[in-house]
Symmetry: C2
Subunit: 309 residues, 2 copies
Amino acid sequence: MILTVTLNTALDLTYRVRSLRPHASHRVSAVAERPGGKGLNVARVLAALGHEVTVTGFAGGGTGREVREQLAGVPGVVDALVPIAGATRRTIAVVDEGTGDTTQLNEPGPQVAPAEWAAFREAYEGLLGPAAAVALCGSLPPGVPVGAYAGLIRAARSAGVPVLLDTSGEPLRRGVAARPDIVKPNAEELAELTGSHEPLRAARDACRRGAHAVVASLGPQGLLAHTPEGNWRATPPAAVHGNPTGAGDSAVAGLLSGLVEHLTWPDRLTHAIALSAATVAAPAAGEFDRPTYDRLRTQIKVTNKPATT
Amino acid sequence: MILTVTLNTALDLTYRVRSLRPHASHRVSAVAERPGGKGLNVARVLAALGHEVTVTGFAGGGTGREVREQLAGVPGVVDALVPIAGATRRTIAVVDEGTGDTTQLNEPGPQVAPAEWAAFREAYEGLLGPAAAVALCGSLPPGVPVGAYAGLIRAARSAGVPVLLDTSGEPLRRGVAARPDIVKPNAEELAELTGSHEPLRAARDACRRGAHAVVASLGPQGLLAHTPEGNWRATPPAAVHGNPTGAGDSAVAGLLSGLVEHLTWPDRLTHAIALSAATVAAPAAGEFDRPTYDRLRTQIKVTNKPATT
């Protein structure tokens, strides 16, 4: 199975309103609820591709209970979330039906107690045994040490399990130094890590800092990979219109799927971009449009001499 | 005991953000959660005054469970909510810390099935037996017939239980015709019912339509009462600054409390205004600032010849 870790899970709500105006009162015309946090999105995409996936991280309170109840309805996903006293955060995406714009409201994560963090570490080490790969995804809730991912990466490497890291800021900086197999920053996260806004140069620098391979997601410009086997740039045939939320999570799912299926790097990137674009065409993160995915897989261009700009 | 009916209960969330800007992403700095819907606010105020209160209406889904768990922590409130398959709605008040403005997002209520409405009617008739008074509060969720309150008023009158109605629009219009003991519209609701923007004339008209007594809440201008015992206008000594959400619910609590304690109308109005103003001074609906309440009770001016403007 593939293990995904989401320390800061969320109950993701999407509201549709006619027109969002500060200081006014709005009737929400439609509400969508789903389990959220990057690692849960990755898991749902992997499960839809036919992989066995186990999710871990933290869940607590009434919102955590709702997340777990909804996960129970996703075939192929095993819930190994660790209970905490604090309540799982909500995120609210308010979609303005007039402009199509989305306004995001993100609750802070719950406070995690030292004993809860220790319980998670123990559960995680047990889950590494049967894991073919592990993905560490997203932000850290309050109370979890900033070097958390570095420790989880070292544990995975000791257990011989390939590990992918998708986070930002200081947790990314410390995680990279623990030598993960793959890091998947977006352009902004990569620039923040390395100080360089030139993606190939920045990816090389991230590898010097410890990452075995760096796959940078560059939005509509596709993916750039810097790996021990070579460098590639993979681009979709044309921009896909829709909602980009979760596109990066689907790229992570594609990379993990390709990793456990022992695909070549160009095939992994093709897989990752097709899933990513098919998620933009789908209504929500953690989902993808199957016809778009099937069509794009034959149309992705992978070049092994990426431009340096 | 006093019975309050909230057919469209809510999980009320208050978010604080630095500055609300459409199309931006916001970190919520603080989250407050409480049981919501007008009748639950009324019940919490009555319980804080020392009354025994039973709440009924509908609750369902994960949000309904959270509402019930929170109600269990309120001393003096007995939960007789009727379970439904649909999920209790959320309301979100987003407070802009820069301007102090509040932006409101209200989810639609859950769909209530005919069998659920029938189950509620049966539970309600059983609860009328021990009730000293009943308040019917707020909007109707989808599936509940628009004449619902009229039927509930007739049942209360048959059981000899005094009934107060606090709603708006067509449910108010139909409810008034069923001859409730008290209706408590605000100025806008009263004008919508009667077509008159002159509160005393409108209150007289509402009585002609069936209400025994009308108490109109006029915001900072206080209350206007048109009753078989006379007409009064009650005004607070000065405007209270704060959050007016729930001020009307606290006025309802004051009127009910005064009713079951057999206070005179002027004393009921004094009670209602002091509670209402003390709620503006409190952080949230369903709460009131006790020192403000105690201070204002001696300062309310009640005149028995209200002006006609």
